[in-house]
């Protein structure tokens, strides 16, 4: 009898107070979880956008590098004109109005953060060197696991942070034009004669980086907001590409600057 009564009491349902309390707890839990989930989702969006932007940049820079490698910075045509030129193009078109790629969420390492006992460039002090017995090579890469021990000391800094690609400020895009070597033949005297291709041009049109050859224009990268090419005295080219892309929700803009240095082989 008592057993039956207990059973009936257990099935009496939930009271209004219980429901209210349970709902309140649910609201509190969801209220705490929602911002976390949203920020995770936002971070995911930003990360994806940044990855896409970076992938675009790298793909474009690889394409340009492969092209430029077949050119020459020093060769001239029969009229004495270089088969290569860099000119200043239009003013940069950016989503943010910024002529660099400074991203507030990232900070540069300062000298003090690099820290430690410093030695000047070229100074052998604080350098301990040992030739490991049986050393097969110089490092840990490329199968030479047994190598020399190098200094763990820190070194003086060179350059300035302002010259890093993402900190670099430039107002106008570059226009890069060059000819590539297609192949070569031998003339009657046996001398090789180089067969040069059409002029290839890389320039920014609107927000696209395009490649123009023989009247055909192809988009190499969208979302471009900066393209800069500099020739160095070592006959290399420093190519910087800055892209800006809105995240899927349109709230954030991912900015990415990448730079490569290429040596045209001819």
């Amino acid at each position: 009898m008592t057993f039956r009564t207990t059973s009936i009491r257990r099935r009496r349902g939930t009271s209004l107070v219980e429901t209210t309390i349970a709902s309140a707890i649910l609201v509190v839990v969801l209220g705490a979880a929602f911002p976390v989930m949203k920020s995770v989702s936002d971070a995911g969006d930003q990360g994806r956008t940044r990855s896409w932007t970076q992938a675009d940049n790298r793909q474009a820079l690889n394409r340009i590098a492969r092209d430029v490698m077949n050119g020459s910075l020093t060769t001239t045509d029969t009229s004495g004109n270089l088969r290569f030129e860099i000119t200043v193009g239009l003013e940069r078109s950016t989503l943010t109005g910024d002529t660099g790629c400074v991203n507030g969420s990232r900070t540069l390492l300062t000298s003090s953060q690099i820290g430690g006992t410093k030695v000047g460039i070229g100074d052998a002090a604080n350098y301990y060197k040992t030739t490991t017995a049986g050393a097969l090579g110089s490092g840990t890469r490329g199968g030479t696991r047994i190598g020399r021990t190098r200094s763990a000391g820190f070194a003086d800094e060179i350059s300035t942070g302002a010259l890093r690609p993402r900190e670099l400020q430039f107002g106008s895009d570059s226009v890069l034009r060059f000819q590539k070597i297609l192949d070569y033949a031998f003339d009657a005297s046996g001398e090789p004669v180089i067969n040069w291709g059409n002029w290839v041009e890389y320039r920014v049109q609107g927000r696209n980086l395009v490649r123009i050859e023989n009247g055909v224009t192809r988009v190499i990268s969208s979302n471009t907001s900066g393209f800069r090419v500099e020739a160095t005295p070592a006959n290399t080219l420093m190519i910087t590409l800055v892209s800006e892309r809105r995240s899927a929700d349109g709230k954030d803009i991912a900015r990415q600057a990448n730079q490569v240095e290429v040596l045209p082989k001819n």
């Binding site: 207990t6 690099i114 000047g120 460039i121 200094s151 890093r164 160095t232």
Partner: protein, 192 residues
């Protein structure tokens, strides 16, 4: 009867503590996993930046004139100007002027504003395998051109004929003591 009453009397403190413990362990595991993913993602990004920067140095060192054995060694200021982030470099600089001693420190420097924390070291010398000596293990194949020396046995450490020459130079870039990029460069055929 007593047993049933106790079972229907709600959640005990022990139950709550155990539940919270399970929750904490689960949430902790999740947090560790997320942090670990973030860390490895950051490390990958840094490795990529380091490699790109190392390849810049290699390209620049392949492009600079080879120079001659008698070239005056570059000063620290000239080396800093060569390896910095801008497009300028010292006039008349050559690979031979930038050589570093065998089994000694290369050009060591930090790059201001570089995204990864660490020290660069660039070694440029005729120690082709970088082991700090001109010795190494000679392979068993007989050279088809050039010297007439017999092939090695593939095991003994002997003097390497190709090392210590001014016409063949190793360029190797290290970041925090780890080799990131390496190449060999030979002198131009016609001595320019």
């Amino acid at each position: 009867m007593k047993l049933l009453r106790r079972r229907s009397s709600g959640t005990s403190l022990v139950d709550v503590v155990i539940s919270m413990g399970v929750l904490v362990v689960t949430a902790g595991g999740l947090a560790v996993s997320v942090l670990s993913t973030q860390k490895s993602s950051g490390q990958m990004a840094q490795r990529d930046m380091v490699r790109t920067q190392a390849l810049r140095y290699v390209e620049r060192l392949l492009g600079v004139p080879y120079g001659v054995d008698a070239a005056v060694t570059a000063t620290a200021a000239e080396a800093a100007d060569f390896f910095d982030d801008d497009a300028s470099m010292p006039a008349g600089i050559s690979l031979m002027a930038l050589r570093t001693p065998m089994n000694g420190a290369g050009w060591r420097f930090g790059v201001s504003g570089f995204e990864a924390k660490g020290v660069w070291e660039v070694e440029i010398n005729g120690d082709l395998d970088g082991n700090g000596t001109l010795n190494g293990i000679r392979g068993t194949l007989t050279p088809t051109t050039g010297g007439t020396t017999a092939a090695g046995d593939g095991a003994s450490t002997v003097t390497m004929l190709s090392e210590g020459r001014t016409t063949l130079t190793r360029i190797e870039v290290f970041f925090n003591g780890v080799s990131v990029a390496k190449t060999l460069r030979s002198a131009p055929v016609q001595g320019t």
